[in-house]
């Protein structure tokens, strides 16, 4: 009610006032928009242009040399393959852990649920550097887990530190809070009534999940998946600290190419390749937020 009346007064103020307001609005958003343009949109186009065109004797000409180098270099391909593998394994683990967790948080009514929520959100407040260090001390060689196993007379674990499983464990740990939060938000759309009705009609738990809950959160799950893939695919700190040195994941690979080999054109080529691989997830993500905003308006 109040909303319509306030916008009504604006309309009554006439076009001059509306133009003034429009200008104020544009002015207020200009600084962050300029920053967004300069440091996100421009670098993306610049990166694509820089890697596709090289400066020759007679001006710029089209060339795919760095891409050719990337896709014929076994080491680079191994790195890309490892990154894809880690991303896929992480996404699968996150779904397996966070979906049950989110289902529990959505439907549980006991006081324990608040504790579970607190614990599930906790990793959000632990910076990845500290996490990396903590994981080395816990599951690294002679770490906390080894100490406990040794004390009860069991053999040591095969430490995942410096293997591809190191970053997998770290990234899953790090992404549990956001994945769970987003899934819980998605489950908000599933009504208690529908669940109760299905249960009264004799639906088993599995049937409930399969026919009532999953169809309604399909879209939310895809958004979560896209978001997670985008985050994990270009992770740097955890793969750098916990992962193997060779082959390495794309994050550390790009960083090394840029800083140590000082080959910024090749580093940017690698970046563009990650953009291209993530493009469909990114597009899906954008489409979904656009649709959501449309629906709420």
């Amino acid at each position: 009610m109040t909303h319509t009346s306030s916008s009504g007064t604006v309309r009554k103020g006439g076009t001059a006032k509306r133009n003034g307001r429009g200008l104020t609005g544009l002015l207020l958003v200009s600084a962050p928009v300029a920053l967004l343009g300069w440091l996100i949109i421009y670098p993306i186009f610049n990166a694509v242009a820089r890697t596709l065109f090289t400066a020759g004797d007679e001006g710029l000409h089209f060339s795919l040399d760095t891409y050719q180098r990337f896709f014929t270099d076994g080491y680079a391909l191994n790195n890309l393959w490892l990154t894809l593998w880690v991303t896929a394994v992480c996404a699968a683990c996150l779904m397996a852990i966070c979906l049950p967790l989110a289902l529990y948080l959505r439907f549980a009514k006991s006081r324990v649920a608040a504790v579970v929520q607190g614990l599930a959100l906790f990793p959000m407040f632990v910076p990845s550097v500290i996490l990396a260090y903590a994981l080395i001390r816990t599951i690294g060689p002679n770490g906390g887990v080894d100490l406990v196993l040794n004390a009860v007379g069991l053999p040591k674990i095969n430490s995942p530190y410096l293997t591809p499983w190191g970053p997998v464990i770290g990234l899953v740990w790090d992404n549990i809070p956001l994945t769970t939060l987003m899934l819980v938000a998605g489950l908000g759309g599933v009504s208690d009534n529908a669940v109760e009705a299905a249960r009264d009609a004799g639906a088993r738990r599995f049937a409930l999940l399969r026919y009532i809950i999953l169809p309604q959160i399909g879209n939310a799950m895809l958004v979560v998946l896209s978001f997670t893939v985008l985050g994990i695919f270009s992770a740097f700190t955890l793969p750098y600290v916990l992962g193997p040195a060779s082959p390495e994941m794309m994050g550390p690979f790009m960083q090394r190419t840029f800083s140590q080999l000082s080959d910024s054109r090749m580093a940017v080529t690698q970046a563009v390749i990650t953009f291209a691989i993530c493009a469909c997830f990114g597009a899906f993500y954008v489409r979904s937020i656009a649709k959501n905003r449309e629906a709420r308006r």
């Binding site: 109040t2 306030s6 509306r18 429009g22 207020l28 958003v29 962050p32 928009v33 920053l35 967004l36 440091l39 996100i40 993306i44 683990c93 397996a96 967790l101 289902l103 529990y104 549980a108 006991s110 324990v112 504790v115 607190g118 959100l121 959000m124 407040f125 632990v126 910076p127 550097v129 260090y133 903590a134 001390r137 816990t138 002679n142 770490g143 906390g144 004390a151 499983w165 464990i169 987003m182 938000a185 738990r205 999940l209 985008l230 985050g231 695919f233 270009s234 740097f236 700190t237 750098y240 994050g251 790009m254 910024s264 054109r265 940017v268 990650t274 953009f275 993530c278 997830f281 937020i289």
Partner: protein
């Protein structure tokens, strides 16, 4: 068995919980236990290391406890330099971010201007690019501008990282301000600035405060941009921490730094849990 396996194993039971009952929530307790082990134990191990003076392998607890390594860590000049640099960086970035983003957030929430939806969407869409690739693309531009390895180069890159959080959380805050109260103030003769200052802002302030705090803490811990753009001159706390981990100088240095570094995030946890737990937070990510 790794920690991740433990979590998986603990979740094998069916997970659609029962209706409202007074029964003990066994499933909840099982999940609490599993999460507790996976989430808390690594941090406890670090905390023990920070206070251990001697801890040789098969012993389950350190042979000697003490504060010797706190003194050793805190007497290192590089630790103090990194700490002061990190605090200066985070303050600068958060302040700049608040100055440019909060007015923009107000405009997005309450004013009508051409291109509003498209521009707002483009902020949300900036998440659709893999972050590290984007950083590399920015770094190659900064290289030509001479911004690599400078304070302001790192400020700029970290500023971009805060844009999203500092816009969409305050937008939600301004949208939730009670319009009836604003109307009432206006009817009582208050000017627009007065209405904003005395009515709108106080209502939005707690949420905005949480966003500012999250930005500060997020910037303090930001590692990728600082590492890529700042190296080798600009060494923030997280960057120093990575160096300590890689060089494996003294185990306790890293442990002491971890405990120290965790203090700010503890405050963030205290003050912003309600915001983070709310559904509007997750909605910002497009669910």
């Amino acid at each position: 068995m790794t920690t991740a396996d433990l979590t998986l194993a603990a979740r094998q039971e069916p997970t659609v919980p029962t209706r409202k009952t007074k029964r003990i929530d066994w499933l909840g307790l099982a999940i609490t236990l599993a999460l507790g082990i996976v989430v808390v134990v690594p941090l406890v191990v670090v905390a023990i290391w920070a206070f251990a003076e001697v801890w040789r392998y098969p012993s389950i607890l350190p042979q000697e406890f003490g504060l010797r390594f706190w003194e050793a860590t805190l007497s290192r000049p590089d630790v103090w330099q990194a700490m002061s640099l990190s605090i200066r960086l985070s303050l600068t970035v958060t302040l700049l971010s608040a100055v440019i983003c909060l007015p923009a957030a107000y405009a997005f929430a309450r004013l009508d201007f051409p291109g509003r939806n498209l521009l707002f969407l483009s902020f949300l869409a900036s998440h659709a690019f893999p972050k590290f690739g984007l950083l590399v693309a920015i770094a190659s531009i900064f290289l030509n501008l001479g911004l690599v390895s400078t304070f302001w180069g790192v400020v700029l890159i970290q500023l971009v990282g805060t844009l999203m959080m500092m816009i969409w959380i305050p937008v939600a805050a301004f949208q939730n301000v009670d319009r009836a109260m604003e109307e009432a103030a206006r009817d009582a003769g208050a000017g627009p600035l007065r209405v904003f200052w005395s009515v709108s802002l106080p209502q939005a302030a707690p949420t905005i405060g949480a966003a500012v705090l999250l930005s500060f803490v997020g910037t303090f811990y930001e590692t990728e941009g600082a590492w890529l753009i700042g190296a080798p001159e600009i060494r923030t706390m997280p960057v120093l921490m990575i160096t300590f981990i890689n060089n494996q100088i003294v185990v306790q240095y890293g442990a002491v730094l971890s405990v120290l570094l965790w203090v700010p995030s503890f405050f963030a946890l205290m003050f912003s849990r309600r915001l983070v737990g709310s559904s509007s937070f997750a909605k910002g990510f497009g669910v």
